[in-house]
Structures are given as C-alpha cells and as structure tokens.
C-alpha cells in the first residue's frame, strides 16, 4: 500500500516535471518572439546606420573630369566612398561605390561603359545605378552633383 502511494507520487512528480518543461519551453519561445520584435523595432528606429545616409551638406568633390573618366570621393560622410563618372555625352553621375551585395568597392570599367563589382561580378548601369547583372539586391545610392565654375559639388543623396 505504501509502495503504491510512493509510486503514484513519483509518477505525479515526473508528469509535473514534463509539464513544467513544456510550459518553460513555451515561455522561452515567447521571450524569443519578444526579442525578434525588439530587433525589428531597432531596425525601424534607425539604430543601424544606412550607408550613404547622414547629413548632406554641399562638398566640392573634383575640379574637372574628362568624358569617360572617373573620380572618387567620400560623401556624405568620411566613411562613405563614392565614385563619379563623366559620361561620353558630357553628363556627370555619381554613386556610392559600396556594392549593395557584400560591400566590395565598385569600379568604373571604361571599356565596357559600366560600373562593376569585381568580387561577385555585379554590374550596375552607369546612368541609373540599377543592377544589370550579378547578385546585388539593390541599386547603388545615387549622389546628386552640381557643376559650378570652380568645380564639381556633391549636393545630396538620392535614395
């Protein structure tokens, strides 16, 4: 009789432990869910700095460029490398030179008339910055330029 009672108590304890474990697991999952919510809130609040964003003050980036040539500069911040190209028709364009795939440097290939990321063969349209080939998921952020008598100025980022 006593053994029977002890046996039943032991079974109850085991059952209770199993239930507690399941409930704890549910609580743990709820905490993970809250963490994912907090992570998304952090993204939405802008805690992660987006490359190319920031203050967009005017900055002189080059004196003059010949058609077909490129020049590099940092804009809008000192850690935001950018590339400018004067096209054959005389117009001038500039983009962030950080590939939107894995942040390699984008290069101007004059012979092919395109911007190319050599790391994974990403190719961007030099007129629009749109992805033409390769793995980059987004176009290059465009930088607005203005030509003035004393040189070429970057005046803002077009997203």
């Amino acid at each position: 009789m006593r053994d029977d009672h002890a046996h039943r108590r032991l079974l109850d304890r085991i059952r209770e432990d199993r239930l507690v474990t399941r409930r704890d697991y549910l609580r743990l999952l709820a905490t993970v869910s809250g963490g994912l919510l907090a992570g998304t809130a952090a993204v939405a609040s802008g805690i992660f700095r987006r490359r190319g964003s920031g203050t967009t003050t005017e900055k002189k980036v080059a004196d003059s460029v010949e058609p077909g040539d490129s020049f590099t500069f940092d804009y809008p911040g000192e850690d935001d490398p950018a590339i400018g190209v004067r096209l054959a028709d005389g117009s001038i364009v500039a983009y962030s030179s950080v590939c939107t795939h894995l942040a390699c440097a984008v290069l101007w290939i004059k012979e092919k008339n395109e911007l190319e990321c050599p790391c994974h063969d990403g190719i961007f349209n030099v007129r629009t910055g749109e992805v033409e080939a390769g793995p980059p998921p987004r176009p290059l952020p465009r930088i607005a330029l203005e030509e003035r008598p004393d040189g070429i100025y970057a005046v803002g980022v077009i997203e």
Partner: protein, 81 residues
C-alpha cells in the same frame, strides 16, 4: 468495487494528462511557426531598411507586434493542470 473505481480514475488521469500534453505540444508548434515567420520578417525589415523603404519596415514592424501578441495570447491561454 474500490479497485475498479481506482483503475477508472487512473485511466481518466492518464487521458487528461495526454490531452494536456497534446494541447501544449500544439501550442509550441504554432508558436515555433510564428517565430520562423518573425525571423523572416526581421530579415525582410533589415533588407527594406537598407533598400530605403521605410514604409515596408513599418509594415513588417506591425506584423511583428501582431505576431508577438499572438504568441503571448497562445502561451497565456495554455490550459492549467
């Protein structure tokens, strides 16, 4: 008589326990599925943020809030012993 009553109680207890366990298992499975969706939403939100689509980020944040509330509701409404 008492012995047969005892057996019936034990069977009912076992059935109750198995129902409870099944209910908790189902809740865990649903919550795990919601969390997988939340993981996707977080990566999509980061991608949208980097792609300068703030409207999409806020939409995904709304989804995350709904998902978290659902998880809370499911875990809070789990049956008590």
């Amino acid at each position: 008589m008492n012995r047969s009553r005892g057996r019936l109680d034990a069977r009912e207890n076992a059935r109750d326990h198995s129902d409870l366990a099944a209910s908790l298992n189902a809740r865990i499975a649903i919550v795990a599925f919601i969390i997988v969706c939340q993981l996707w939403a977080l990566t999509a939100a980061l991608d949208a943020w980097l792609g300068a689509s703030p409207a999409e980020v806020w939409l995904l944040l709304g989804f995350q809030v709904l998902a978290f509330l659902s998880v809370l509701l499911i875990s809070r409404s789990s049956p008590k012993e």
